[in-house]
């Protein structure tokens, strides 16, 4: 190792001599010249940096590392020229923040980019541990935005592209050794990748589906507090959150010190909600706290029964109209109107978060009215179909009778013609 370092130093000294002799080439980036020639680990940043957003915007090595790239050899890396080498720990914040916290400077390159990342970071658990406790194992800018390969979040190859965020966070949070001192579980990514959110993001390509930073924040990442999680889910699921906020559960859960949404839906492993979650049957989340005899249990059973009745009415009407449509009946308007019952079903399911059977009942009643009307139209269509078939049978009989009559008439006129000829 020592021999290799001596070799590198000798190489840089030689390059320095060559650079000094060739003054015309003094303007070139000597960092790139030397590091490219050195190969291996030292050349890797040169190759990677070519696709870095900073390189695209015209920044060179000295923007972060300091020093003077116009000076060939080790001279350009003198401390007195501001060379910082490889920034570590708190130094990373200073290096990145020098530009990213300067609104005037950033406006020239990306006016829409926020300039409070370092300030936010200081409020995060990562930032607090680094700045207050000097814990250098926590994440800094470079942990999520890898040096020499920083790309905008919209770039699918970026470490902070929505699809890649879980892997980026899991680089530390999935590492049992790294997390051991903090006593944090390391299965979050595994759980998240079984969630409905990950399915929406990775399978349906819905980039608005939440990933780690959407709930935990990115620069200001903090662990979820009890009331905080409810707020986070409500950012997207606002209707449910509003119902929940007005419900008894909001007060009770806060009193018990358990999170609102995650108590029933889990946090990282949020699976697709189903009606089975409601009620007191096996697998129902209500049954974890409520029993058939108590008021909450009765409410759960009543809400489940109402939802089931609406769902059954919707499916009955839908299947009847579908059958009529398959037989060629024009029922598109009825099918369109039946959509109202499905809307009511969706609204009623959201209203379940009020844990109030009257609120759920109001939504279900509206939906049932629509479904019953649609079912009646389906029955009309099927009756009409039967009428058509009967009408067809009658008309075919009449036509056949006419044909028979005509055939007899033809026989008669042909016979008459033969008689006339003879």
């Amino acid at each position: 190792m020592g021999r290799q370092r001596v070799g590198i130093a000798a190489f840089i000294w030689l390059v320095g001599l060559t650079g000094a002799a060739g003054g015309a080439q003094a303007q070139e980036n000597n960092c790139v010249t030397c590091h490219s020639a050195l190969g291996g680990r030292l050349a890797a940043p040169v190759e990677a940096f070519q696709r870095d957003i900073h390189a695209e915007k015209g920044f060179g090595c000295v923007a972060c590392h300091g020093g003077d790239a116009s000076i060939a050899g080790m001279g350009g890396m003198a401390r007195e020229l501001g060379f910082v080498g490889r920034p570590r720990g708190r130094q990373v914040l200073d290096v990145c923040g020098r530009c990213h916290s300067d609104a005037d400077f950033m406006r020239r390159y990306n006016p829409s980019l926020r300039v409070d990342q370092v300030t936010e970071y200081a409020t995060s658990v990562h930032g607090r541990r680094l700045l207050e406790l000097g814990d250098t194992a926590v994440a800094t800018c470079l942990s999520c935005h890898p040096a020499h390969n920083v790309r905008p979040p919209s770039d699918p190859l970026s470490s902070v592209h929505p699809v890649n965020v879980a892997a980026t966070c899991a680089a530390c949070h999935g590492d049992a050794d790294h997390m051991k001192p903090y006593g944090i579980p390391t299965d979050q990514r595994e759980k998240y990748e079984r969630s409905v959110h990950w399915a929406a993001l990775s399978e349906q390509g819905d980039l608005s589906a939440p990933t780690c930073n959407d709930c935990h924040g990115n620069h200001g990442a903090t662990p979820p507090g009890i009331s905080w999680v409810g707020n986070v889910c409500g950012q997207c699921h606002s209707v449910m959150a509003d119902y929940y906020e007005e419900s008894r559960h909001a007060t009770t859960f806060t009193m018990l010190g358990v999170p609102g949404c995650a108590t029933c839906h889990q946090n990282h492993e949020v699976t697709r909600p189903a009606d089975d979650m409601l009620g007191l049957d096996e697998g129902a989340v209500c049954a974890r706290c409520h029993a058939p005899g108590d008021r909450g249990g009765e409410t759960a059973l009543a809400m489940r029964s109402m939802i089931d009745s609406l769902q059954a009415a919707y499916h009955a009407a839908d299947s009847l109209l579908g059958a009529a449509e398959n037989h060629g009946m024009e029922v598109s308007q009825a099918l369109f109107e039946l959509g109202g019952a499905n809307d009511a079903l969706v609204t009623a399911r959201a209203a379940v978060h009020s844990f109030d059977r009257e609120i759920v009942g109001a939504e279900v009643t509206d939906g049932l009215e629509v479904a019953v009307r649609a079912f009646a139209r389906g029955e009309d269509a099927m009756n009409e179909l039967r009428f058509r078939r009967t009408g067809l049978a009658v008309s075919v009989v009449i036509i056949l009778a006419l044909i028979a009559g005509l055939l007899l008439k033809i026989r008669e006129v042909d016979y008459r013609a033969t008689v006339t000829e003879t």
Binding site: G328, S332, Q333, L406, D414
Partner: protein, 365 residues
Amino acid sequence: MTRVRAWWHRSWRWLDDRIGFDAFTAVAKKKDVPVHRHTLWYYLGGMTLFLFVVQVTTGILLLFYYRPTAEQAYESVQFLMAEVEFGWLVRSIHSWSANLMIFALFIHMFSVLLLKAYRPPRELTWYTGVGLLGLAVTFGFTGYLLPWNELAYFATRVGTEIMGAVPLVGDFMLRLLRGGDDVTGATLTRFYAIHVAVLPLCAVFFLGLHLFLVQKQGMSVPLDVQQGGGSRGRMPFFPNFLLRDLVGWLVALAVLAALAAFFPAHLGEEADPFAPAPAGIKPEWYFMFMFQTLKYLPAHILGIEGEIVGILGFGLAGVFLLLIPVLDRRSARGERSPLFTWIGLVMILYVLLLTYLGYTADPAI
């Protein structure tokens, strides 16, 4: 009863004095139809005419409810199908009868072609018949768009695009048909005007001339029957032949009723010009052989775009079909003409094969 009969006789005489029914009855009595082993084919003209009358009748009924604008067309047809008493029946019969009419027309044309019934002096009858076939498929093409549903919209887009590929006049034709660069409400209005006014007017002229010529020249007797015997005499048109025609029409009516009851005309989704074209867009069956041919042609033939070569080819085939009475000199002289029999058979086989492939071949090809 006697009084009614007397009143009827008086009324008839009153009308006869003014109109002169004698002339009609004389023609009806004089008109007869040759009887031989190919007589069956004579019924196809009458069948086509019957289906045309069904089309006119149901078309007029549809006009009472149809509204020819992009905003209202689909809703008006939907209303007709779902709310109007027997609206579904009228539209379904109109749709099925259109298909059966074109089918009968094709068989009628090919039977005339193979029996060489276009021989002098019936060239004009052939020309007007080919003209009527052209009118019938144009009726089909323009009528297909009128419900303004998704399939019709995109099929019209593809159809007019093909028209736009015609050299020299293609661009003009495309804009003339579409009423702009794309298929819009302006196209719908044009197609409507063509379907309910322009084409019926042309059809009345061509059909009138066609029927007049058939009436004047009588039915053509095939050459082999004429020369080799096989004629079983002649049958009076009225009532013997007409009664047989009526049987065929009643059968057609029963078939139409069954098709309308079991397979009513679909409406599908409303056309949305901003939606992507649904996969596997296909034209009506009578255009399928041309559509499939264009799909098989290479991108370039002798440096000319394959599609243009195909369209020119079909144009030339149409001209050839029209000019057959002029080109088939042997038949005109009363001689056997196997070449044109083979041409007719090849045409039938080609249309059948390409239509079959159009419905069965991999759409990606």
